[in-house]
Symmetry: none
Subunit: 91 residues, 4 copies
């Protein structure tokens, strides 16, 4: 945890749903430390353009990350990387 590896480009090909792939990609950027706690994420519309996906796809990915506790969003202000909780230890 908290390694400084690089996250590969976002290039979804697998059977995974697009919004899930996007959520995973951002989650990876957080895990790797590229996105640090309390940083503000780019606005949702900007993310949509950067990733070349529809706005709604970004919204779904954000919802996913919110539910995983990785981000916190404040209406009208932006969405921020959460203080990362101790990883659940995984499988």
């Amino acid at each position: 945890m908290s390694n400084e590896d690089k996250v590969p480009e976002f290039d979804p090909k697998g059977p995974e749903l697009l919004y899930a792939a996007l959520a995973d990609h951002i989650a990876a950027r957080i895990a790797v430390g590229e996105l640090q706690p309390n940083m503000r994420l780019a606005p949702e519309r900007e993310l949509a353009e950067e990733y070349g996906v529809a706005y709604l796809t970004v919204r779904r990915a954000m919802k996913e990350l919110r539910e995983r506790g990785l981000i916190v969003t404040v209406h009208g202000k932006g969405t921020f990387i959460a203080e990362q909780p101790p990883g659940d230890g995984g499988p």
Copy 2:
């Protein structure tokens, strides 16, 4: 009417719009007698801070209450609790 019950803290969670929730909360404070006719309400900017919302949100709530006839606002002086009309009696 004019009971002296307490109004619970402002803690919007429901699906209600924030400004509407705020308007309702203040309306409740009036209904319960915490805010009496002719009293001056705190300045809008102060309300915004107290309630932890943006100024515009307070403005919208005030507009709502004005339309309901619960308050009267005078430009440059402040906003005041209106002489309460006979409640519509409800169901």
Copy 3:
């Protein structure tokens, strides 16, 4: 009615509120036939840019026009010029 005169540029100078001036300008474009019934108006954000005003100012102007019955807006689809009611005939 339904003349094809031209509406002058939007250039608010008077004491009128900006959003009211904007509403009037669009109302004039409708009156003159430049904007025909059932046409879709440009998106609100685009109007904001075109007119060089803030988004909220456009929103307020739209609200005004909606209340005057000149436009109809559908959430998620756009705002459309209404079937014009018989003008009140004026003086």
Copy 4:
């Protein structure tokens, strides 16, 4: 013109009107180069506190400076030091 002298503290004592004294003080800060073209002036309410004067006094001083062409104010954004025109050369 465009000297780099220092402007003395604001300490009105003379018969001059307070808002005029304030305007002159700010004009001096511009003349001396302490306030450069295109810089944003502190918000009016902040200036009122800093100078220890009423808000209205600041507003009047701003009006004065606007009419002298020393500042440009944009509603909702702030007030900015104007590109200084060639001094009128006055005696």
